[in-house]
């Protein structure tokens, strides 16, 4: 086939389009770009902390938020009566809106709180003249009533359920009254205003844990004016007294928080041993927050997050599995960056307040009624290998339910019995269970809450390890809600669960096997042991110390013997920071943006 010369019009059109595209692709863009990731520009001395959100927040009304993404923002915009010390471990309560820690009455039932008189809500149109007013005891009582209101808080009320006089009755009343519940007529008898800056909280029984919820972000203090002014939109119009206020709020775009100049907090002057040497006390006594703005773009994928971090457009970033493998490693001394990154960034790790464990359904006719079988599985699983091979070594094998930074964890318990991988013992236990070499044992089914690649790999790992002793493991991958329905109704054999601390006390973890908490409560295994329950009840309201730890040891021994759950491991969060970021220490109970400082000169130089 021969061709006539290329038609000129067609040639021209193609050339124009190609050039136009070339111009688009070839133009050099700014390296940063966007409000969310602007590096501290030379000449602009504003201290900007560039972070990233991996998921979008859902609700910024303190009593309605339940997800971590929302809590991170709420705790920067609102303040709580009490808070946690940024540096000290085990975690310690410290006053925040309260002037000092509350005083307890002689019978231990009534706490008296005195509030600071210098705290103001940020300016907002909901206030007369748009000027924020002073926060007072009425605001605290109003906020606690909102927390207890059944029409508002469906998710976190359990933090205070049962221990403040009249609070449960108030909740019932709000349920009856519906959305029109009038806080003017409905009272919580245990909460009393003494004067504008003093209130009391009366308990139903002495309880050293009663103060912990007052540091939770769900109990942030809100002004009534904002709730009534914004109505349903209050979920997206936060008006608080926290370290930051909103400059820009785009749920799926960039959030910019700017310093609240009226915030009262100061950087702590004391920390743990080693904190001073690590430079964590360099800002001691300085007014918080230490940065002018925090930029929080939403970046859901790991690759762009890491590329932006490498460019200096993000100041702090946690590792995902693949990036950890490419950039870091673990040895006996801890976590390290590979040489090509070690001079650019610093690696950080800490201990989380979470635990993972296998749950056996104690009502299941096979695994629930055969202790030796449960023990055989515990001996056959290879948890250190799992942590090393499947989690980049970012975890620690655990032997009790209580995470390591919490008082009463296995660090305080002597001569603890433990399940370490021992195939000979696993085989012995299988014989004892009536299934020598796995003969006659039907496949066991483990329930999973999703079917992601990660989950499937996790299953394959455990399946292979159990197969070595003749146990066949099957998986049931399902949607999250189907999983919840199955587990909460007891229609399962085994599953894998996790628990992150609502508050940093061992009680929050030992309740996971407490009889009355049977599913759909936190006791997913449905374990019932009166002896264990009595020990739990005895330890529950005791102060930490040898006596309490001795009870924990007895409880741990019972769980070792009965194995209703097999505690596997706790996650170690590993992250990187740019060298210009100061004062970073992992704190699982509070969001630490207010404590972070930026060396602007170093940042400008580093980004260039």
């Amino acid at each position: 086939m021969t061709h006539a010369p290329l038609p000129r019009a067609l040639l021209a059109l193609t050339v124009i389009l190609t050039l136009a595209l070339g111009a688009c692709g070839g133009s050099k863009s700014s390296s940063g770009g966007g409000e969310g990731d602007t590096p501290a520009a030379a000449g602009n001395q504003k201290k900007v902390l560039n972070l990233v959100r991996g998921s979008a927040h859902k609700n910024l009304d303190p009593v309605k938020q339940f997800d971590q993404a929302s809590a991170d923002i709420v705790s920067n915009l609102y303040d709580t009566v009490l808070s946690y010390h940024y540096l000290k471990r085990p975690y310690q309560l410290v006053p925040s809106l309260a002037e000092n820690m509350p005083t307890a009455s002689e019978d231990g039932l009534t706490y008296t709180f005195r509030l600071r008189k210098d705290v103001k809500f940020v300016d907002d149109e909901c206030f007369p003249g748009g000027k924020g007013r002073t926060l007072n005891a009425d605001d605290v009582i109003y906020s606690i009533k909102r927390f207890a209101d059944a029409n508002l808080n469906a998710q976190s009320y359990m933090l205070m359920a049962g221990f403040v006089e009249g609070m449960d009755a108030f909740r019932e009343e709000t349920k009856k009254a519906g959305k029109d519940a009038d806080y003017g007529t409905l009272e919580i008898s245990g909460l009393q205003k003494v004067d504008d800056f003093t209130f009391t909280m009366k308990l139903t029984q002495p309880n050293p844990l009663a103060l912990l919820p007052l540091a939770a972000s769900q109990l942030s203090i809100v002004p009534r004016e904002a709730v009534e002014h914004y109505k349903a939109d209050f979920e997206r119009k936060p008006v608080g007294s926290g370290p930051f206020k909103v400059q820009k709020l785009s749920r799926r775009g960039v959030i910019i928080l700017e310093r609240n100049p009226g915030y009262h907090g100061v950087y702590p002057s004391e920390g743990d041993p080693g904190d001073k040497e690590a430079g964590l006390l360099a800002s001691a006594g300085q007014k918080l927050p230490l940065v002018d703005e925090v930029h929080l773009p939403l970046i859901e994928e790991a690759q762009p997050r890491m590329l932006k971090f490498k460019r200096g457009q993000i100041d702090l970033l946690g590792f995902d599995k693949n990036n950890f493998r490419q950039m870091a490693f673990k040895d006996d001394k801890g976590f390290h960056l590979k040489p090509e990154w070690a001079d650019k960034f610093e690696i950080l790790s800490g201990e989380s307040l979470s635990t993972e464990y296998f749950v056996y359904n104690m009502d299941d006719p096979l695994v629930g009624k055969n202790k030796a079988l449960r023990q055989a599985i515990a001996y056959a699983l290879d948890i250190p290998g799992f942590i090393k091979d499947m989690r980049n070594g970012r975890g620690v094998k655990m032997h009790t339910l209580v995470p390591l930074p919490i008082a009463g964890s296995e660090r305080e318990l002597k001569d603890l019995q433990r399940y370490d991988r021992d195939l000979a013992k696993a085989k012995e236990k299988l014989v004892e269970a009536g299934f020598p070499g796995g003969k006659g044992l039907p496949p066991l089914t483990v329930e999973y809450r999703n079917s992601s690649t990660d989950t499937r790999q996790e299953f394959e790992y455990h399946r292979a390890k159990l197969a070595e002793v003749g146990i066949t493991l099957k998986a049931n991958f399902q949607t999250f809600s189907a999983f919840l329905q199955r587990v909460d109704s007891g229609n399962f054999q085994m599953t894998i669960s996790g628990w992150a601390a609502d508050y940093p006390d061992a009680e929050n973890f030992y309740q996971l096997t407490y009889g009355p908490n049977k599913r759909p409560g936190p006791n997913a295994s449905g374990y019932q042991n009166p002896e264990y329950d009595k020990l739990y009840e005895r330890s529950r309201f005791m102060p930490n110390g040898p006596e309490r730890y001795a009870i924990f040891k007895q409880m741990a021994d019972i769980l070792y013997e009965d194995v209703p759950v097999f505690v596997t491991w706790t996650y170690i969060p590993v992250s990187m920071r740019q060298k210009w970021v100061k004062n970073r220490k992992l704190n699982s109970m509070i969001t630490g943006h207010r404590f972070i400082d930026i060396d602007v000169a170093a940042k400008t130089k580093g980004v260039q």
């Binding site: 038609p7 059109l13 193609t14 050099k28 997206r236 799926r252 773009p297 999250f480 919840l484 997913a524």
Partner: protein, 310 residues
């Protein structure tokens, strides 16, 4: 034509009713339970009942379906279960982002790919045809995700020609869109040009082209005045059906470039069982699709006098 249009508009009602029934059935049979997802594990029966009542999920199914039909009729889909935001606000925020991501490369791609298709068909059997066929088939064999990851890494991170990710409304935001546009064009060029080439080849081999050439019609006039015009029906069909989906954006692109569009919103809603968002988006797309199909038929008559609307 007016009677035809009115009749076709009336046909839309049973179609939309069917879509509504299908969406509602799927949500209530295979979808996530939004209350369970919201409350997480260990939710008490009381808290489940409270939230179901709040969201109207304690009502009989027929009542829920009737409410859904009222929402469709009034274009008021209420608020997202997940975030409490008004659906209208969510769409208004997300749709411009998705359209700014997809519409410009769609238009540019249409012109570019039709031109390339015409060019390659014209040179059928030449080195250009063979080379482009190999190139486009190779390009089509690479996954969309690989283009995104590769281009983001090389062009944005390594070469620093574009921002890695981000979004701003207005002209400032153009810098964030250029790289996604290029990827969109690169991904679409293979299948589109191959398709248009085939269409044009059918036409260039037709008798009327041979007759035109024999009569001495210039190549320009033959290609643009005859071949292109006669190929418009499949081109219009192929491109118009893509239009309603432009508003959905491109899910992967939105996630990797942090563009807060509708695609990402849709996927999140599916994962969380956020039925109001799913209802709203599905019905919006169904209506858009029905209207576009009608518009396509009208355009047929405009581009090809042989087609009559009756």
């Amino acid at each position: 034509m007016l009677a035809y249009t009115i009749r076709r508009l009336l046909y839309m009602f049973p179609v939309l009713l069917g879509v509504a029934a299908l969406v509602f059935s799927l949500f209530n049979t295979v979808g996530e339970d939004p209350v369970r997802v919201a409350l997480g594990q260990h939710a008490t029966p009381e808290s489940i009942a409270d939230l179901e009542a709040q969201w109207g999920l304690d009502q009989p199914l027929y009542k829920q379906f009737l409410d859904f039909l009222v929402q469709i009729a009034t274009f008021d889909y209420g608020r997202s279960y997940d975030t409490g935001e008004k659906l209208s606000d969510m769409f208004a925020a997300g749709a411009p982002v998705s359209l700014s991501l997809t519409l410009p490369p769609f238009v540019i791609g249409l012109i570019l790919n039709v031109s390339l298709g015409l060019l390659i068909a014209y040179y059928r059997g030449s080195w250009l045809d063979r080379f482009s066929t190999a190139l486009f088939i190779g390009a089509m064999s690479i996954s969309y995700l690989a283009y995104i990851i590769g281009f983001q890494y090389v062009l944005a991170y390594r070469m620093d020609w574009f921002p890695i990710s981000g979004y701003e409304p207005g002209i400032e935001g153009l810098q964030f869109l250029l790289l996604p546009w290029i990827i969109y064009l690169v991904v679409s060029v293979g299948p589109d040009v191959r398709m248009y080439r085939t269409v044009f080849l059918d036409e260039t081999g037709a008798d009327y082209v041979r007759t035109a050439r024999a009569k001495g019609v210039s190549e320009n006039r033959m290609l643009f005045g005859h071949v292109l015009k006669n190929a418009m029906i499949p081109i219009v069909t192929y491109s118009m059906v893509a239009v309603p989906f432009l508003i959905l954006g491109a899910f992967l692109m939105e996630r990797f470039f942090s563009l807060p569009g509708i695609g990402d919103l849709m996927i999140t809603a599916i994962n969380n069982g956020d039925f109001p968002v799913l209802k709203g988006l599905t019905m919006l797309i169904a209506m858009g699709y029905s209207l576009i199909v009608l518009l396509t038929d009208i355009v047929y008559a405009w581009v090809d006098p042989r087609v009559s609307l009756s």
